[in-house]
């Protein structure tokens, strides 16, 4: 083998190794970038979910009014109307995209609250305010406690507001 050929092979080998290292570098760079983007996406979804929890509890369409005074609770009748008329879906807010919103009574457990009842009726004690299409992969949940007022009985119950995304 001539000296020139040996030099060429050497240069070629150096180039091959350089590209292999470059590929490995690019692979890891994109791996980190993808992870970062995913994390940012999750944080944004959490943020919008948290905002949604506060927004729903302060919506006049759902909030209870007792003796013309707004109180920090959700009205069971308003919840039934809003869920039947798909109020949140009609609002078409960007923060609602891809999310499901549920409210249900958790305490005290009463006999009149039918279990496994899905009619968005006042006697069911659970309401589906928004249902998004089924998502592939992991579903995350955010929840908070709410006070639910039954005007017909003039009673307050402890409920749970859940946002799924």
């Amino acid at each position: 083998m001539k000296k020139a050929q040996a030099t060429m092979i050497e240069t070629f080998m150096v180039l091959v190794i350089f590209f292999i290292l470059l590929m490995i570098g690019i692979y890891f760079y994109f791996q980190f970038s993808a992870k970062g983007i995913k994390k940012t996406g999750e944080e944004l979804a959490k943020f919008s979910g948290t905002t949604l929890l506060s927004t729903i509890t302060s919506m006049p369409e759902l909030k209870c009014v007792i003796l013309k005074k707004e109180e920090n609770c959700l009205d069971a009748i308003k919840l039934s109307i809003a869920s039947k008329q798909e109020l949140l879906k009609k609002m078409n807010l960007s923060m609602l995209r891809g999310k499901s919103v549920y409210v249900y009574v958790v305490y005290p457990e009463e006999d009149w609250i039918e279990k496994k009842c899905e009619g968005n009726n006042i006697e069911c004690g659970n309401w589906t305010l928004l249902k998004s299409r089924k998502k592939k992969g992991r579903i995350s949940k955010l929840s908070t406690a709410v006070s639910i007022y039954y005007p017909t009985q003039e009673k307050y119950y402890v409920g749970k507001l859940i946002v799924e995304y």
Binding site: K46, C73, V106, Y107, A145, V158
Partner: protein, 150 residues
């Protein structure tokens, strides 16, 4: 030792130093930051929990507010039950339903000297951050702490 060998060792030391600095930098950059958003969310959860709990109707046309008030004043009987026991039992039930089984919490009713603390062995994440909120009314102060979710 030849001059070239010494140079090689020097180069090696520099490379090792660069790697060490790089690793420290990456560690610091990727260290978990304090999550302000999740703390705010837990604060909202606790406030809502206390508010909905105290507002809750208990039958005999009374609310939990009245139970707590009675417990603080004289620990008397309300709706046929001892007020302080009723308060403790109800809060445990509500907390289990709202927070879930694995979440640890602590509730303190200062005026009645009542403190409920969940056992650490029952917690999903006992080393998590403890977040507290206070609810003050004219007659009593309820302090609730929740261990952040893992």
């Amino acid at each position: 030792m030849k001059k070239s060998q010494i140079e090689m060792i020097g180069l090696l030391i520099i490379v090792i130093l660069v790697i060490v600095v790089g690793v420290i930098f990456l560690r610091l950059r990727t260290a978990p930051k304090e999550d302000i958003l999740s703390t705010a969310r837990e604060n909202i959860l606790i406030s809502n929990l206390i508010e909905s709990f105290t507002k809750m109707s208990i039958g005999c046309e009374k609310n939990m507010d009245d139970v707590v008030e009675m417990c603080v004043k004289n620990g008397g009987v309300i709706c046929g039950k001892k007020s302080c026991e009723y308060f403790e039992e109800s809060f445990k039930d509500v907390a289990k339903k709202v927070l879930g089984k694995g979440r640890c919490y602590e509730i303190e009713l200062e005026e009645a000297d009542i403190k409920i603390v969940t056992e650490e062995k029952n917690c999903d994440c006992p080393n998590a951050k403890k977040i507290c909120e206070k609810y003050t009314s004219l007659d009593f102060t309820i302090k609730v702490c929740v261990w952040a979710s893992c």
